[in-house]
């Protein structure tokens, strides 16, 4: 009996202890000190912390606590906090560009209007597509940060072995011929793609062609003749057996490391993956811009990128804005983020730094950052809208049925119809 009482008491004590265990720190501003809280993932954490050290030279009373959260986990936390009425949220959050509009639509009062705080003056420092993605009704709600200008990451040795000159590839048709040559002589695929689960190549092609799942007015644009053209090109590569089907992200990395694909079309950020995972292949890599659809056509594209948003519920909105303005518009900060963390800036003044003309040894002494930087100004705006994830789902279905033998125009029409049902958006007729 005694033993039992002791156990009950111990458990009660344990419960009390648990409840009493509080590590609450509200970061209250006694003696004028302000601690900002930011949510970000991966390399962005270090970039924010280093930028704060630079900022503190002039603003010694400010500090930042960056919580390192997995990229997709940020959205779970952010959505929960916003849905609960703005509790448990940070002052600053990093959001990918394709998510910004859906957050603004779902939580119109959740984020600070940055134009009211004065961000409009920086407009000319960012490429047009970044500005459009970061704003709603001509007001900024996000500060443009990194970008993912598109390129073909290719293996020099494979191209050399097949005797293909990269500079001669200007159009997708050229690349198709080159791919056939490579396949014949080396047995290696031209590119890799997760045929049934993701569509990055299709998205970059649409972006090149100046269209997207949706148009500027928010209407569904998947049946646009150019979209059909892009899907037909992907089908052509598939039918000639030039596409290595990979399984998800890890499959892509695997194909990159083991040399079973000659080229990988991706955003500039793929540089980081290559140098991290494929260390043994140093010097064997190169980059060329995505081929155009017709001679002299647009070769600029973008895949990925993110921007910073300030929470409306933040009690330190002004301080958060000022620090993030410094972070996103100060060239030195952006150059640091690029050099130390591989985060490709969208701030145009940053491109004057040395690193953008440097020859990169890992990439056969090619100045790859210059290639990417030069591309930025020509990137068209992809209109993600709030229904991007549904659009993505349907575009992937269209691609999958094309690989299953469906005609591209029919597959896209079917996807567009379903998309119209699911989002109640207008469907453009051609």
């Amino acid at each position: 009996m005694k033993k039992f009482k002791i156990i009950v008491l111990m458990i009660m004590a344990l419960s009390l202890f648990v409840v009493g265990c509080s590590s609450s720190d509200e970061g209250s501003s006694e003696d004028g000190k302000v601690e900002l809280v930011a949510w970000a993932w991966n390399v962005n954490v270090g970039a924010l912390e280093d930028a704060m050290t630079m900022y503190q030279e002039e603003n010694p009373n400010i500090s930042i606590k960056v919580e390192d959260i997995g990229r997709s986990d940020v959205y779970d936390k952010l959505s929960t906090g916003l849905a609960a009425g703005g509790v448990g949220l940070p002052d600053i959050v990093l959001v990918e560009d394709d998510r910004i509009q859906s957050y603004l639509e779902a939580f119109p009062k959740g984020f600070a209007n940055l134009s009211e705080l004065g961000f409009d003056q920086h407009k000319q420092n960012f490429p047009n597509f970044k500005n459009e993605l970061a704003s709603l009704n001509d007001s900024y709600y996000a500060m443009p940060f990194d970008a993912g200008p598109g390129g073909m990451f290719y293996r020099r040795s494979i191209f050399n072995e097949a005797g293909v000159d990269v500079d001669s590839i200007e159009t997708w048709d050229d690349f198709f011929e080159a791919g056939k040559e490579i396949k014949e002589k080396t047995g290696v695929y031209a590119m890799s793609l997760d045929k049934f689960k993701d569509d990055p190549t299709f998205r970059m092609m649409l972006n090149q062609l100046g269209i997207f799942y949706f148009d500027e007015a928010g209407n569904i644009d998947l049946t646009h003749p150019k979209a059909v053209q892009a899907m037909e090109m992907i089908k052509k590569f598939g039918e000639a057996d030039l596409i290595k089907d990979v399984d998800g992200w890890n499959g892509t990395v695997s194909a990159t490391v083991d040399g079973s694909t000659a080229a990988i079309p991706f955003g500039a950020w793929y540089y980081g993956t290559i140098i991290d995972q494929a260390k043994d292949t140093a010097g064997d890599w190169g980059v060329f811009l995505l081929p155009a659809f017709e001679e002299g056509g647009n070769r600029a594209s973008n895949l990925g990128g993110s921007s910073f948003m300030v929470l409306e519920a933040s009690k330190k909105k002004q301080a958060a804005y000022e620090f993030m303005e410094f972070f996103t518009t100060e060239s030195d900060v952006q150059i640091m983020a690029m050099k130390d963390y591989g985060l490709f800036p969208s701030l145009s003044s940053a491109y004057e730094a040395d690193i953008f003309t440097e020859e990169i040894e890992f990439f056969g002494n090619q100045p790859i950052w210059k290639l990417f930087a030069d591309e930025m100004a020509d990137v068209e705006t992809p209109y993600f809208t709030k229904d991007f994830s549904i659009g993505l789902d349907e575009a992937i279905k269209a691609q999958a049925s094309v690989f299953n033998g469906e005609d591209p125009a029919t597959a896209l029409q079917e996807s567009a119809n379903r998309l119209a049902d699911r989002t109640e958006r207008e469907l453009n007729q051609y």
Partner: protein, 276 residues
């Protein structure tokens, strides 16, 4: 001739078992190998299957990234505390449901079971609001307390309690034992196997729990192991050496916990075989 047949059959059986064991052990082996090699090596062709020399390097990188000690402490503290409290609460509740007669008992029990059908995600926002209004966000109790009355654990314990002879409880009552004493001295000792099974279940549940700790805990030093591991996944730069090291470390406590309770499992099985 006959003897030989038996031998062949035995050989076949062991061969099948061996294949089964290999298949289920391979992922553990693979992650342990990944932990000792550098990041890109698991993607090479053929895949690397022998231990490398990068374990210390991966460990120190991982430690720098997530703080292994702190995260391990958080996870262990949360899981162990949760298991103790929840086991206590659930066994009492199941005892009441199984052996006491009171008005609305079956209805309450049904409601309890039905609550298992409510998708967990539907309760997250109300729960989050509740925690926020009590000022519990980013504190251990926000993760430990919400699920201490876990319907499935109560169900599991109740099924075992039902099998306990009511006559024994009544006899104890006649002998003058208090209700607490009956519960603690008479009923619980024979429930050890069931308690062990429930404890393993509760511990695993809390140890693997991801979404709620992710949402309720917001600072890096409060993270549990799964949340910290997930933070290793950025957009394009993933150090698989670190990930594999973390995954391997995260399975160790579960294995220890299971092994330490395993004998109750087995004794429970033997015990029920020899009863009466």
């Amino acid at each position: 001739m006959k003897k030989r047949n038996v031998k062949v059959r035995k050989f076949g059986l062991y061969f099948l078992l061996l294949v089964g064991a290999l298949i289920s052990l391979f992922p553990f082996y693979w992650s342990a190998i990944g932990a000792t090699n550098e990041s890109g090596s698991m993607f090479t062709k053929p895949p690397t299957l022998i231990p490398g020399n990068q374990l210390l390097e991966n460990m120190s990188n991982l430690n720098e990234q997530i703080g292994i000690g702190r995260v391990m402490f958080n996870s262990l503290f949360i899981s162990i505390t949760y298991t103790i409290i929840a086991l206590f609460v659930c066994s009492m509740a199941s005892y009441a449901f199984a052996k006491f007669k009171f008005k609305g008992r079956d209805i309450i029990f049904t409601i309890f079971l039905l609550s298992m059908m409510v998708p967990y995600h539907a309760t997250i926002i109300p729960l989050f609001k509740m925690m926020a209004s009590w000022g519990w966000l980013n504190q251990y109790q926000a993760v430990i307390l919400p699920n201490i009355a876990y319907p499935f654990a109560i169900f599991l314990m109740r099924q075992n309690m039902l099998a306990f002879p009511t006559a024994l409880i009544e006899a104890s009552r006649i002998d003058g034992a208090s209700e607490w004493k009956i519960f603690y001295k008479v009923v619980l000792p024979s429930m050890k196997p069931a308690l062990a099974a429930t404890a393993i279940f509760l511990f695993m549940y809390q140890w693997n729990s991801f979404l709620w700790p992710l949402i309720a805990l917001s600072s890096t030093d409060m993270y549990t192991f799964p949340v910290a591991l997930s933070s290793l996944f950025g957009l394009s730069r993933i150090d698989y050496g670190q990930v594999m090291t973390g995954v391997t470390l995260a399975t160790v406590p579960i294995i220890i916990f299971f092994l330490s309770l395993q004998r109750y499992f087995i004794s429970g099985m033997l015990g029920s075989a020899l009863k009466e």
